[in-house]
Assembly symmetry: C2
Homo-oligomer: 515 residues x 2
């Protein structure tokens, strides 16, 4: 029922109630700000959740989380690759602003393999550093990916606790020249992947998800009765190749090892939400579930997930590379069973968390993240663009239902001819180009409502095209005008800043001077 | 809680209760068999429902129906085209058995345009004819498509009431030589599409879905208090090109006119289920929602829907052509919020309805439909193959999670070069072939669990391939051995059986002798 039926008095009352409510949004029932749990998946695709159309329906707990919370079908990563997206989450800033990009080559994706000496700058302010100011205790469980040298590690940037690794769990697995990736407990290295923390690459068996779950439960229980609010950043990685699952989940899904990993992660989500309920924390805790980038179709079908109806996957700026599954859950605060068509971005988790904690955003820098609390708590819709970057190139922009591509590129012909394919079975003529194709003078424009798969470019001769471009162009100009880029941290091919290795590693082979 | 906790006595009691329940499955609480409502969509795709991943989430009522009932992610049409699929639904038999196919050309799809003189044979037994034996009253609302000559119409084949049309609502729209399609009330023609029953092809406006809804509600109300059980076959067609919606739905979706049509149909589903509740019939009525074939990607993106992660669409025997959205709803009988991985087929609706009505299947013929009542009521899983036909050619077979293609074909090069594309943006090399490609000696095999998009054929050299083929081959042999084909009813290109026209119509252009 709208206020039309209630008259002016009631409308005013409603306004007062809304205002009162707004001023107390940030605090939970006992007066302290809410706990925050961010569940970040690794390479999980939009289409991997039952509620987003995975036919095998492997995610009853996530589907239930959606039924009890708010589902976001239009939520984006800040980058189609892991490190930059994660740095953006924790800083609320685009990778070009926080340094998580490279200038080595045009539109080059970059992350933090062991050769990289860069990492998150001391000048960047991370979410747990901010939250600490108002008494939060913070823990990260899982993959960090913001630099592996000691000055970049989580406890140097606001986290109080850590169990996990600075890097991905792939590697040479057993190579004395380039060791397997270390695993940390807080500031102490406690072992290495494939050694103390086993991953059987042949069978896919590993207990890591169970360990990550246990580490989270320990944290929740320890802080359940404290007056101190907490921030848990649960950054699990079982869906990143080589995908793994523990013994009791292996072979349970219809999709093979990848689906088994999804089922185990979904199970863990259920256990964590149940634990919050059991501890009486459910109504004092915002839980947000999402993923760092699209499913890695390059690893499909055995080690990669699904991007549902979207084009291509990880590494690309098509929808499959950056559209993410996203669910917000906060019983009693977020209305159950709602779908928000808000355009969201992983960077919003920074700003939204600050708002809920009653903190202002840092004022000395541009923050790209939006405060989604009005969306979560009042089902508002906020107009905002989505920027799709590869390296320091703005490849595409979404505004409303229109998306303009200024550059298109899947991957190079050279890679493609070696069998590397970011868009298997999805080549769209003139769209999934293997040459870097510039369209800045006349961008390719798609209507993502009737064409979520980016298969039907709108005719440049149409009125619809002209109107869409007229709306998008000033947004892009404003964005570029205000853009102050950071020193790039991920120039991995710059030998001057790289750790020396005796042998040429796989990642070095991608450097232009090698080719 | 499992019976483990209850001890042997309780387990026995549970067994007895289950057995008792089984013997009364067919009857509802007041002792008469349940009402049956089949909601059949036209060209709606698997991916058009929110619960199956449509990003715009246009189907809150269908999603709720799924949450209250049983969802089938592995449900199939009997054919990738409308007429044969509908004939199969009502006869429980494959189109090659019931005559709804053509022998004019190899693997040719065929339906019932006005030129066709064929229709459903008097030798076939239709579902309402069977149900009438035990006192059901039956109504069809919407599209018939089993032949337009008087002897083929619904009231000649068991239905008591009809509002709708024998054919599709596309046409020449205004052509005295080939008139617009008639609309019937029972046995009386009451007007024609585009004349008395307006469809504005430019704006997409039409009230037909509202009329179809009202016709259904009238039927439900009229029979609510009668002792007589009823069968409602709600065969609406707003999602078939030219797609349409009524004024209050036009412009409401993010997808344009197609999404508007989906929203209006979804709304109607909600109204019908609510009406069943209001009339106190919900617990005495099985409602089954599905579609006749995959989304028509040939009409995408403005007039076609989504097949989610599946390959190609209508007219093809890839998953996008025949995998259908499907939901069963029967409060108090079908457990709420369940997902069944049962392989289902539209022909099962015939057999399941008979079982629920307490009727045996006809014994003088092969019935392809399976009785799904153990699946619906006891969550059983029944092993069975799915056969994918085009015309009289068995193109592919699914058994478990494996699908073998004996022939691949999207459409001809000739059509393709004219811009007709059944797989836009989804060409898979060697799979979506424009030549009719035979693989009978070495079928293409896909694992539909890890590869629902049919993009990664399993290596013929692998153990997995050999095992899958060893399992599938005897099933195919048995099927072919028992196959008695009917006289083809849809040999539209046979001039001897065609209605004469002064001008050559579009459908005639497809005939081999034309080209």
């Amino acid at each position: 029922m709208s206020t039309n039926h209630l008259g002016v008095g009631a409308a005013l009352l409603s306004l007062i109630l809304t205002s009162t409510c707004c001023s107390c949004l940030e605090t939970s029932r006992n007066g302290s700000p809410p706990n925050i749990v961010i569940m970040l998946m690794d390479d999980m695709g939009w289409g991997d959740l039952g509620v987003f159309g995975q036919p095998a329906k492997e995610t009853p707990n996530l589907d239930r989380m959606a039924a009890e919370g708010m589902l976001f079908p239009n939520f984006y990563a800040a980058n189609p690759l892991c490190s930059p997206s994660r740095a953006a989450l924790l800083t609320g800033r685009l990778p070009v602003r926080n340094g998580f990009y490279t200038t080595n080559a045009h539109a080059r994706n970059a992350y933090t393999p062991q050769e990289i000496v860069g990492g998150i700058s001391q000048d960047e302010i991370l979410l747990p550093e901010m939250l600490r100011k108002v008494g939060y205790v913070s823990k990260i469980v899982g993959k960090w990916h913001l630099g592996h040298r000691s000055q970049y590690l989580p406890l140097e940037h606001g986290f109080d606790e850590w169990f996990g690794s600075p890097n991905c769990h792939f590697g040479p697995y057993n190579d004395s020249d380039r060791p397997n990736i270390p695993v940390y407990k807080d500031s102490q290295m406690v072992g290495r992947y494939y050694e103390e923390f086993e991953i059987n690459v042949k069978t896919g068996e590993s207990n890591l998800t169970q360990i990550y779950l246990e580490e989270s439960l320990l944290f929740l229980r320890a802080h359940a009765k404290a007056q101190q609010p907490f921030f848990l950043y649960w950054a699990v990685d079982a869906t990143h190749a080589p995908v793994y699952a523990s013994k009791s989940f292996l072979g349970r899904s219809q999709r093979g090892r990848y689906g088994d990993a999804v089922m185990e992660l979904d199970h863990s989500v259920g256990v964590i939400l149940d634990e919050l309920r059991t501890l009486g924390l459910a109504e004092d805790t915002l839980v947000f579930f999402t993923s760092d980038n699209g499913a890695a179709l390059v690893s499909a079908p055995t080690q990669g997930g699904s991007n549902g109806p979207f084009l291509c996957g990880k590494e690309t700026t098509f929808e499959g590379g950056m559209r993410e599954p996203a669910i917000a859950w906060w019983p009693g605060r977020i209305p159950a069973g709602t779908v928000s068509q808000q355009l969201g971005n992983i960077m919003d988790l920074f700003t939204t968390s600050l708002a809920l904690a009653g903190l202002p955003v840092p004022e000395d820098r541009i923050i790209d993240g939006l405060d989604l609390s009005p969306v979560l708590l009042n089902s508002s819709l906020i107009d905002r663009p989505i920027f799709y970057y590869r390296g320091n190139e703005l490849m595409a922009v979404r505004l409303g239902l229109y998306k303009a591509h200024y550059w298109t590129w899947s991957n190079s012909w050279e890679e493609f001819h070696k069998g590397v394919n970011f868009c298997p079975g999805e080549e769209v003529d003139g769209v999934t180009t293997h040459d870097q194709k510039e369209h800045t003078m006349q961008p390719l424009i798609f209507h993502l409502g009737r064409d979520p798969g980016e298969k039907f470019p709108i005719s440049v001769l149409s009125e619809e095209y002209r109107t869409a471009l007229q709306n998008i162009s000033p947004v892009v100009e404003r964005h570029k005008k205000n853009l102050v880029v950071a020193v790039p941290q991920l120039n991995m091919c710059d030998l001057a800043v790289m750790v020396r290795r005796k042998t040429v590693t796989a990642s070095l082979l991608l450097c232009p001077f090698q080719g």
